[in-house]
């Protein structure tokens, strides 16, 4: 979970630290999601973000440009999520059958 000996990196954690609070929000595992940085455009798996915290909140920064990508705060009665630093979040999900599969005649 930590980033040992990474030159120039001061973040004590990686994105796996966000798994707990994010699991309260998302049905799918968001640590394997890929986020695109609004600042530099690079795509990064959430698990590999540079994460500062855990208090007062978790701050996930882009490994490429250090911009803030996402933030999570767990207050006593709420989870607060900021995704303002990302342009997209792609979460691997169970495959669904493509439209058109199955017995079309049953629908007519």
């Amino acid at each position: 979970m930590t980033i040992p000996g990474h030159p120039g990196a001061e973040a004590a954690y990686d994105g796996n630290l966000m798994a707990g609070p994010l699991s309260e929000l998302f049905a799918l595992d968001v640590t394997v999601a890929v986020v695109r940085c609004r600042g530099c455009g690079s795509s990064t798996e959430v698990a590999t973000l540079r994460v500062y915290g855990p208090d007062p909140g978790l701050v996930g920064r882009c490994p490429g440009c250090d911009d803030v990508l996402l933030r999570v705060v767990r207050t006593p009665d709420a989870v607060w999520l900021d995704l303002g630093g990302v342009t997209s979040l792609r979460v691997p999900a169970p495959r669904v059958a493509p439209a058109g599969d199955g017995d079309e005649s049953a629908r007519t």
């Binding site: 990196a9 001061e10 973040a11 500062y52 915290g53 208090d55 007062p56 909140g57 701050v59 920064r61 250090d66 803030v68 933030r71 705060v73 207050t75 006593p76 709420a78 607060w80 900021d82």
Partner: protein
């Protein structure tokens, strides 16, 4: 049968009256950061104050050092529940910095090198309540604690005392800062335990 009846136990023994509710004492100086420590050289450092009409006042490091400084001993209280008593700081009072600034603003948004922000009422920066501090415990303020200079507003939770301060935006309306946007209290009075929105 209880020897001491419930509701008549008095103050917990040994609890310091200078400790706000929900806080514990520490002798350490914990470091909490929302990002990498920005390195700012004195010759590049600048502090600005911008008013609501766009007027901008700036101070170089040399100009800050030339202003009258104060040494203050204060208690500090972090929202993560640690408190540290009798901390000694040296810096320039906001009363001095804002003395010649004309404004009708009621609020301030403090900006830091590295992008951090925090909001507070302008009146909480005045009347001997706030400083731009550049020394701690007799030494230059270390970068991990906000050096070269940080805001010091000890009567509010310490996230309001922005590390690596670089500017103060004076505004007619309140605007939430980095943590205030994400669930933390807009004012943050430790004695009223205003940690989160709604407290």
């Amino acid at each position: 049968m209880d020897f001491v009846t419930r509701g008549f136990q008095g103050r917990p023994r040994g609890r310091d009256e200078r400790l706000p509710p929900g806080q514990y004492l520490t002798g350490d100086f914990p470091v909490l950061s929302a990002g990498p420590t920005p390195g700012v050289d004195h010759d590049e450092w600048e502090l600005w104050v911008a008013t609501e009409d766009g007027t901008r006042h700036t101070w170089s490091w040399q100009e800050l050092m030339a202003l009258p400084a104060e040494t203050v001993t204060v208690d500090i209280h972090c929202v993560t529940s640690w408190s540290k008593l009798d901390t000694e700081w040296r810096g320039v009072s906001l009363d001095t910095l804002l003395a010649d600034v004309e404004t009708a603003a009621d609020f301030a948004l403090v900006h830091s090198y590295g992008g951090y922000t925090t909001n507070l009422p302008l009146e909480d920066l005045l009347d001997g309540q706030a400083w731009v501090a550049y020394a701690y415990d007799g030494d230059d303020l270390r970068p991990e604690h906000g050096g070269p200079a940080r805001l010091l507003v000890p009567h509010l939770y310490f996230w309001k005392s922005a590390k690596w301060v670089r500017g103060i935006e004076l505004m007619l309306e309140d605007s939430p800062g980095f943590w205030e946007q994400l669930g933390y209290h807009d004012y943050g009075d430790p004695w009223r335990e205003q940690r989160y929105q709604g407290d």
